[in-house]
Symmetry: C2
Subunit: 242 residues, 2 copies
């Protein structure tokens, strides 16, 4: 294997920085883990012992790599990182989907993936152009949740919709005609919650697609944070299906 | 007025960085704005014209201050900032409250304040020690929402509770006994939603206080992001009161 490089989008691998994301990668997707980097200043903790055990079981190499860990994590302390092959997984056809339309913020993306796993939205479509879902910042922000999700990128919303024509669409829009509580009172299955970009939201023509949903809030704010809006939407839909 | 200093917690003023937060400060709390800093590279935009108009109307000094703007905003571009006196406002006694118990992340805090304004929780108690709610990062993350909220700090939860003994308490806990949807089916007024620290949550003895609430999510994640949990809680309670 050639020497590791600082992360950039065109690499075919990424880094899962932090003890917890490293453990998630080793537990959920060990076949994708190429090696594990460890800081020379790591404490002899329970987390380290678990990492060592999983690396031994799966014959994954562990190595001390302080310089690369510094590059990966920037200012934050980082005691371990898994080197993980990038791996797109086709979405399941009969499950509920979350569609992120051109999201641009890595922190939001990570927070959304963590909520998605919590609310059992395990199939995530990302319509590009978007922030790089494999960026180590996303993996850190999602606490490794992405290793338990199926994530597939699409060049356009039309491409997604052609692949899953049977999904009822719930685009979330500031001027959506149906309040969230009403939408979840009569949910159609299977379905896709669709979230727009942080700044621009969804294009206006999404109002013609399926059931446009509005999260009611006061006029005192322009909009909710994207990760907040997506999480409220997934929470409400996950409640409806009980 | 002595020369401006880079932000630190002991100053009696703070900075609202960005065009939108600057406008919010000028619109909602002009009596607290000491002056407005402008970048020499600012575009002649609608935002700038509004700032100029509000400064003239309120006799607030505008000045070019590239170096200080760089210090305030770090890596991000920042074309304007309001210099704002810190100002704690006693909470109202008959309204719903959001209580943040020792929150430690500035970004989360800002996102929560933005959601709080959107869901009409205008009274925010912060139990210290906590991240500095007046930090410019918080003001940026909340998009200036804090200038429309009453925010009061308390040295302990007991101090808060003594001040508002009539509020029914809803502590949010991973092992709360009442699912959120059930709690909002029979809301007691006035009430306080209580959110714990990002890492530690609320101390275990909050289970004995009021109605401990759980946001149901799968075991696949340890917990939701704090800003997400607080926002889901406020959304659900704001729905219940219609």
């Amino acid at each position: 294997m050639p020497p590791l490089q600082a992360y950039h989008r065109n690499l075919d691998y990424t880094y899962a920085p932090g003890l917890f994301p490293t453990l998630e990668a080793l537990t959920k997707q060990s076949h994708l883990v190429r090696r594990v980097l460890i800081s020379s200043s790591i404490n002899n903790s329970e987390g380290l012992r678990q990492i060592q055990k999983l690396c031994e079981e799966n014959r994954i190499r562990m190595e001390t790599a302080d310089k690369m860990l510094g590059k990966i994590s920037g200012k934050e302390n980082c005691f371990a990182a898994a080197v993980v092959s990038k791996h797109s997984q086709p979405l399941y056809g009969n499950t509920r989907h979350l569609v992120l339309h051109q999201p641009s913020d890595k922190g939001n993306m990570g927070t959304i993936l963590r909520s998605a796993l919590g609310f059992s939205f395990q199939d995530i479509a990302i319509v590009t152009p978007s922030a790089d879902v494999y960026d180590p910042h996303v993996i850190r922000a999602c606490m490794g949740a992405m290793f338990s999700l199926r994530i597939q990128e699409f060049d356009s919303f039309e491409q997604y919709h052609k692949a899953f024509p049977g999904h009822h669409l719930y685009p979330f829009m500031l001027d959506g005609s149906v309040p969230l509580a009403e939408a979840v009172n009569s949910v159609l299955h299977p379905h896709s919650l669709i979230m727009g970009n942080e700044g621009a939201g969804l294009p206006a023509d999404f109002k013609e697609k399926g059931t446009p949903v509005r999260i009611p809030h006061s006029d005192a704010i322009d909009s909710l944070n994207l990760a907040v809006a997506a999480s409220i939407g997934m929470y409400a839909f996950s409640q409806a299906e009980k």
